[in-house]
């Protein structure tokens, strides 16, 4: 169904939702900055953006989970004060959360019952609700087996249950947060059918997602959010997948292109292979594939960037290569120190990885990269505390550890340069520099790095980029996962693009263009660069 076949929006259509000037700050982070949102009644409006772009916060404000610092909201043309989810529900707003709000041990019917019981006596309440639900299910085509426990229902059915829950409470405006994140392709199709039917009934739908094809397939209009603000807001027929991708992941940066000609000259043949991953496959607990036949090779002296909208398997790839995730199929060959082969029966572990010269800067620096409650010098040896240079036997050579930390801080310009300071007291950028110092300073053979400059100030970004290049120039290999396309373009010799748990394409940096990358990121074209 192409955009031309869709109804054109009447100019005088009443706005179901109008949010103006929404600001929301969490501590140092400006989650929403002067956001405006206009949604016409009976339409499907998509809200797209990377992780941390602010879309979930915006919808949480609409649903009353958070209160905006400033701004106003109008529902059906009337000003609305939404202080809690009860207010939102009373105004006809319903929300289907990304992480289902269900009690798994209860039956489906009891889950709908909870909080909106028509009677204090459960059997009576159940029969009344059942009648209403059956009518609703017939009306909307949503089928849910009401008498099974939620834990026995497949995810698609649980999601339909969530939608039913919202509808039963009279929702005419339905917010769906990343609805297809956990669905199989078949379930996704089914969901689309359901959503279209709901739209025909006059329900207004707000779809938060980062899957661009779905936006094009389903929505009437779209807002693209980035770093807390709205960067693009238009009807679907005026845009396309590639434009959305580019709007999502950032401005083009010209700088990166200048030295592109010098980089990435066919490296493959010349330099030794350090890491080879073959046909990695991994499904999560729900059976959804997160790594689908992923293979890659890292050579000495190159930076390989992994581009793509996050959630397409990049995190899982990093975890697998660092030894934190054991794939169900595939193998890994490490040629950093001798040759070691790893199979699913006996996969890599983080300490073995480190001993083989593989360092890892994790995407989540606060929960994984550092221990916030520890002092800086204690976090600065995380993962390396067993090394001989930090003490030959059982005792830790704290003097050596502190001295090393001071050296790290000096070299990587971590401020304040105080090894005794608690990690939680450092700013995000300095925390990141500390983690990078710990992992990169020992000159690892392979550095796996995820989102190295997330939340880092501009000056530090350049510094970090310089250090990554230095590592490459010294003969190491860097695997760079980043949702910032400019970062990928500025640093990489080779770019892999991940989409839908697969590697959708691979290109030398000289051949990269925003257009081609955008196509690969949105999955609209699978491409293999000719060597």
């Amino acid at each position: 169904m192409t955009s031309t076949q869709r109804q054109s929006l009447p100019v005088t259509a009443p706005l179901a939702v109008r949010m103006q000037g929404i600001h929301k700050r969490f501590g140092a982070v400006q989650a929403n900055r002067d956001v405006n949102l206009n949604v016409a009644a009976g339409t499907v409006h998509g809200i797209v953006g990377e992780n941390g772009a602010g879309k979930s916060t915006l919808m949480a404000v609409l649903y009353g989970s958070y209160r905006a610092d400033s701004g106003c909201i109008e529902i059906d043309g009337r000003p609305a004060r939404i202080q809690s989810s009860e207010d939102a529900i009373a105004l006809g707003i319903g929300m289907v959360h990304q992480h289902f709000m269900l009690v798994e041990t209860f039956h489906a019917l009891d889950n709908v019952l909870l909080g909106a019981e028509p009677h204090w006596h459960l059997p009576r309440a159940r029969s009344r609700l059942r009648t209403r639900l059956e009518a609703l299910m017939h009306d909307t085509g949503l089928q849910v087996r009401l008498d099974l426990a939620v834990e026995d229902l497949p995810l698609g059915e649980r999601q339909r249950l969530e939608i039913l829950k919202a509808l039963v409470r009279g929702a005419r405006i339905l917010i769906l947060d990343e609805p297809t994140a956990v669905l199989t392709p078949q379930e996704t199709e089914q969901l689309f059918v359901t959503l279209r039917r709901l739209r025909e009934r006059g329900t207004t739908l707000l779809l938060i997602t980062h899957k661009l094809k779905e936006i094009i397939a389903l929505c009437d209009s779209v807002s693209v959010m980035r770093a807390g603000g709205v960067v693009l807001d238009c009807p679907i027929r005026e845009t396309n997948v590639d434009a959305l991708a580019q709007a999502m992941v950032g401005r083009r940066v010209q700088i990166g292109r200048e030295d592109a000609a010098q980089r990435g000259a066919p490296v493959a043949a010349a330099k030794p292979r350090l890491l080879e991953a073959r046909h990695l496959r991994w499904r999560d607990a729900f059976g959804v594939p997160r790594l689908d036949d992923v293979s890659l090779t890292l050579h000495a002296g190159e930076i390989v960037g992994v581009a793509g909208v996050s959630g397409n398997g990049q995190s899982e790839l990093l975890d697998a290569l660092a030894g934190l995730l054991s794939p169900q199929q595939g193998e890994l060959v490490l040629s950093t120190i001798g040759t070691r082969r790893f199979t699913p029966q006996r996969w890599l572990a983080p300490d073995i990885a480190r001993s083989l010269g593989i360092a890892h800067v994790p995407e989540d620096r606060q929960r994984r990269g550092l221990i916030l409650a520890f002092d800086a010098w204690e976090s600065a040896v995380l993962g390396y505390h067993d090394l001989p240079r930090y003490g030959p036997g059982l005792l830790m050579d704290q003097h050596a550890m502190r001295a090393d930390t001071a050296a790290m801080m000096a070299l990587y310009d971590v401020r304040p340069a105080n090894p005794e300071l608690r990690c939680s007291k450092f700013s995000g950028g300095n925390q990141q520099k500390l983690v990078l110092a710990r992992e990169a300073r020992p000159q690892p053979k392979v550095l796996l790095v995820g989102q190295p400059t997330r939340g880092v100030d501009i000056g530090a970004i350049e510094f970090i980029h310089a250090r990554l290049r230095a590592l490459r120039d010294a003969g190491g290999a860097v695997l760079l996962v980043s949702s910032e396309l400019d970062e990928i373009l500025a640093l990489s010799d080779r770019v892999l693009v991940m989409c839908g748990a697969r590697i959708s394409g691979e290109m030398q940096i000289a051949d990269c263009s925003e257009a081609s990358l955008g196509r690969l990121m949105s999955g609209s074209q699978l491409e293999q660069a000719a060597p």
């Binding site: 300490d351 480190r354 929960r367 994984r368 040896v381 995380l382 067993d386 059982l394």
Partner: protein
Amino acid sequence: MQPLGHGAGVSQPLELPRWLDLFVLPAFNLTLALLACGVLVMIVGHSPAQVLVLLIKGAFGSRIGLSYTLYYATTFVFTGLAVAVAYHAGLFNIGGEGQAMLGGLGTALAALALGDTFPAWVVLPAMLAASMLAGVAWAAVPAALQAWRGSHIVITTIMFNFLASALLAFVLIDVLKEPGNMTIESRSFGPGAKLPGVHETLAWLGIDWPRSPLNLSLLLAVFAAFGVYVLLWKTKAGYALRAVGHAPEAARYAGIRPRAQVMWAMAVSGALAGLVGMNEVAGVHGRLLLDYVVGAGFAGIAVSLIGRNHPFGIALAALLFGALYQGGAELAFEIAGFSRDMVFTLQGLIVLFCGAMAQVAAPTLARIWSAWQRRREARAAAAQS
């Protein structure tokens, strides 16, 4: 696994500076507990001031009183350290009672087997090893169940406390009891199994000291406290343990295996609790009894809470509790109708104010602190301009 107090689930937007957190807050909570106890003392018709004076005199006012205080404190150091080590790994070990019982059993078995035939320098180390190993064994099962089967360690350790007392009763009554003896106890240990008392050691050094249960386990306790400090903050093993307790995800990232840490933290914890056997069974009674532990494990929880899970704080808190137990016993002599149970009540109040309600005062303290900070900064700014 619910880490004890590691901010799990409780948001703390205002962070207290370390010295406030480690010293002022516990002192404040302790004062509250003492005040509540003072109220109780008044309700039962005594004067808190009089009680306090008599308590201090009883605990520290004489050499024998001091000896008793230190003897009690020794046991509390062991059980307090046991709770603390487990805490730093993110576990709540309530099984100190049971592990201490097993420790005594281990001590006794080694003593009975070897005490008659071997000299002290062979038997005593064997008893020491036995007491620790027995404690380790008793802690290892709940630890393994937690690590591999996910069984909540709090519940399993409580169950194991009851199992320990049943086991101890069985061994004493059916195996070790001397026929014809009405009291439930084993026979006395041989001469090789007697841990010298402090009064004996001091006499050997030429110092006259009154006879008391205080024995060389005191040195063991000091060594254990120092050892735990070194272990937790100066060794790589301790680093890994604390990492798991604070941030299991980061520990995994670092290649530290959480299961191994759980096992080994509980092993150390059990060994420490087992050392109670050396103090009570080997050092004092010279035979195995039924009730040498009573309440020591729970007192250890209180001691660890006030001592903020740090060996130095635990040593001080153990001394405090030793003083309370000894002073309480004296009070029971001096004041008609006063019993040791007042001390148990205070113990419970301490767990209440320093444990369960420990953070109730924290936000208020933090507010006072930041208000005072702001006023200081404003004054400094005014002085500059």
